[in-house]
Amino acid sequence: MAVQEYLAPATVDDAVAVLGEHGSAARVFAGGTDLIIQVRERRRDVGVMVDIKKIPELVECAFTGDGGLRIGAAVPCARLYRDPEVAAKFPCLIDSASLIGGIQIQSRASLGGNLCNSSPAADSIPTLIALGVTCEIAGSSGRRTVPVEQFCTGPGQNVLQPGEFLVALNVPAPGANSGAAFERFIPRNEMDIAVCNAAASVVLSADGSTFQSARIAVGAVAPTPLLVAAAGEALAGQPVSAASIASAADAARAAAVPITDMRGSTAQRKHLASVLVTRVLNQAVERAGRA
């Protein structure tokens, strides 16, 4: 079906109403860098394109009272990394935002859109998981909140019900002695889908010698990006050392269940899961030390 209509609602309620009216023929988009292509290539049938960029709260990015960050689902990546305060407080978000596609993609693509596209290899999702982000969803029954690690349910699939859309991502305030980092592996230096990616967020003891807690997430190694609880558990209470980091990396490798496709093989991805988790943990520790 060719696109029949383009609508740009001005409020969340209007958007919900539009989605309710048009049902499965309607699809929300922000940057459009995934959806516009999918529709053109006839991989997705969309009758009504619903542009949510005219809704103020979808394009707002603001610190909350407690030092957390509320990122509207349509805020382009470029706005994030150009904000010195966001960059200073959440360098891990910037790691992701500056890697999705190239500059031309980042001026339009949003972390929220990247999440909703729900690719197992998405470059935003391990970061969001590691940071303990929650997703604010609006629908006809009102708003609900979902922890981001539960958002994706399969390749291209997520918990959004018909008539629902993502409004904002809530990033908790970074605690004391914490640091986070994201890395991905691609064959070139930009523009590729990740063969494997990983994010880690750590909280250290005040003297920086011990892990208090850690959240480790890995992507492109399973039908959805994974929160590897076992890796975090392997670090809690452990000294900051190559050995403890290695055990977390092993846990990530064990949790990975990647496929072999044209972008990478099972063996390669499991190996990379371990390599990347090691690297992001080291970087997260370094950032925690500098925080």
Binding site: F185, P187, N189, G264, A267, Q268, H271, V275
Partner: protein, 748 residues
Amino acid sequence: MVMADKPKYRVIGTRPLRPDAIDKVTGRAQYGADTRQNGMLRGYVLRSPHAHANIKSIDVSKALAHPGVKAVVTAADFLAPGQDLAQLPDLTANVMAGSKTLYHGHAVAAVAAIDDESARDAAGLIEVEYDVLPPVLDVREAMLPGAPILHEAMRTRTPEGPSADPSNVVAHAVVVFGDPETAMGECDVVVEGDFSTRMVHQGYIEPQAATAMWNPDGQVTIWTAHQGSFPARQSTATILNHPISKIRVVLTEIGGGFGGKIAVYLEPVAAMLSKKTGHPVKLQMDRVDVFEGTGPTPGTSIRAKLGATKDGKLKAYMADMAYENGAYAGTAANYATMVATACYDIEHVRLDGYDVVVNKPRTQDYRAPSSPAAAFAMEQLVDQLAEKLNMDPEKLRLQNSSREGTRGSMGMPFARIGHEEIVQAALDSDHYNSPLEGPNRGRGTASGYWFNVGLRSSVNVTVQPDGTVALAVGSTDLSGTRTSLAMQLAETIGVEFDDVKSLEVDTDSVGYNDVTAGSRVTFGTGMATYEAGKNLIAAMKERLAATWNVPEDEIQFEEGKFSSPDGSKSGTFKEIAQLVVGRGPGLTVSGSVNAGFLQGGGFAHHIVDVEVDPDTGKVQVLRYTAVQDVGTAVHPAYVEGQLQGGAVQGIGWALNEEYFYDDSGRMLNSSFLDYRMPTTLDVPMIDTILVEVPNPLHPFGVRGVGEPPIVPPLAAIANAVAHATGVRQYQLPMSPRRILQTTGKIEE
């Protein structure tokens, strides 16, 4: 720059600004897809989803019934009288499948409609009944008895005559010099390897586009971005069963070719749709169509052996080289036998070249066709041999280098060539003499050769009333040749570069020009331009004789000035032109040459430093230097650009580019997302060293430069990776996954 007795030129060797550049930097230049004609319809090609299938039937009725549709064509529209679909010649069948589809992406029908969306929708309504057959996708597998056969009528051409049974092997070419078996047995050191490369695409940024108008009187005009308007005219005429004289091909600007735009794909289809609709019809490929429906370059399997004495004298080379041709017969392996040993003086050689069809798109040239894969094998063996002999590989190359008089790969001795000079230049270079420090780093070098061609060219020169000249060129300008040709004309007739206006004209306006390929335009069309310049001076002398009342053969022309024998009368070219043309009848002369098949060949030699991440297998190119014998660098900046562009294409080919197929023969990565060409972030600056050893076959010593640069990179990078990791790479691409595998980090 290293000179070798270079004459002093006035215009050649300078760096004028190309006149077509302004249109290109402002977006005004008209490329294939920018063509607009009044009443134009849009077309769309339906392509086969099967890699190998018989076509049982095609029902276009639902497509024709679509409100926006004006016509549909299938192969039936291209049948010659009395011909049936199974008898369609390869040339036509590749453009529109007859009784079989032979690759995923093979065109089976085309629609013309009022807009693009309608054409696509209607194409989806065409019902094709396929009888799916098993595909064969590997070159060695295709050679085995029992492999699915693509063409029942195909018999292998061999030195002993055609094979008895149907085969996928098009031809087995054999080249033998001396007694290689015996000589190899006598060598002190022998190295060997089983090398393989994957199918890759030329990757031009502009997809094919063609617009055609078939007038009711049978005159056909085609606007296209193509590497040869005359060959395109010929091919189109053949496919349409229509006279050449009734077809006019007009070149638009072209957004890259590299050999991939030598065949016709859309031109005949657009013409046939126009014939049926009475309207101009434009066809434009999607990027998917470009990958799946044009002509990528062969994947290869090369088993080679190199033997030497303990003093480093190369004595014997034997190679079994199998090249994919894609769906229809080609000559890729044959080309390989013409270049494989060119860089070295090796007395005993045996080359077995196998051209093999497989269920993939019909392959085409990609800049120095067949030579990069041949060098991937040879230059790694040279590197390994140097290791075994404990010699610097560059010294080993110098010791064995081809020179003037060395027997070339085709049996004839080389004329003056520059391989020795460029290896020496590499040895003397700053890059080679800078230490490479740090873990996981390695440096590699490699040589390469391409024979370059001459072929036929023709230009016209018209004198303007103000004494400037217009140079009408029929050769496609891929990257600035209209400027290099203007420079050669200016040099010949003694005017300034700005006094020559260079323009591209259609097939009715100038004599025959062979395709822009084989690095031949600056050389061959340059020779035609030189001829035209000489003819122009002669024509002006003839007129001047009457005006000056001096015998024609006594008028002199030197350094841009005509003069009478006693010197009392003289004038510059422009002054005389204003005199005898400005105030006389118009003057247009032509220059036409057949520059022969071969133009003397070009050698390239590259140095590359890499760093390999041992944990991820990723190769980073740290530093790159491209050295080449460029004959005479007509426009040095353009020559540098050819070296840099070819080197980066080679980097992509070496590290990340390949066609991924699933078992059914469907290409999985037909997009720039997953067909990974280098970006600005993937390569460093490419330093160039231009060595000028003039080509004795050209009046200004010009040598084709466009193709040799893509030959060395595959091997140079493989050698560098081997030195960085201690592990030889026998398969391309050297992707991170492959490096992890071969270095033992992962098991697969």
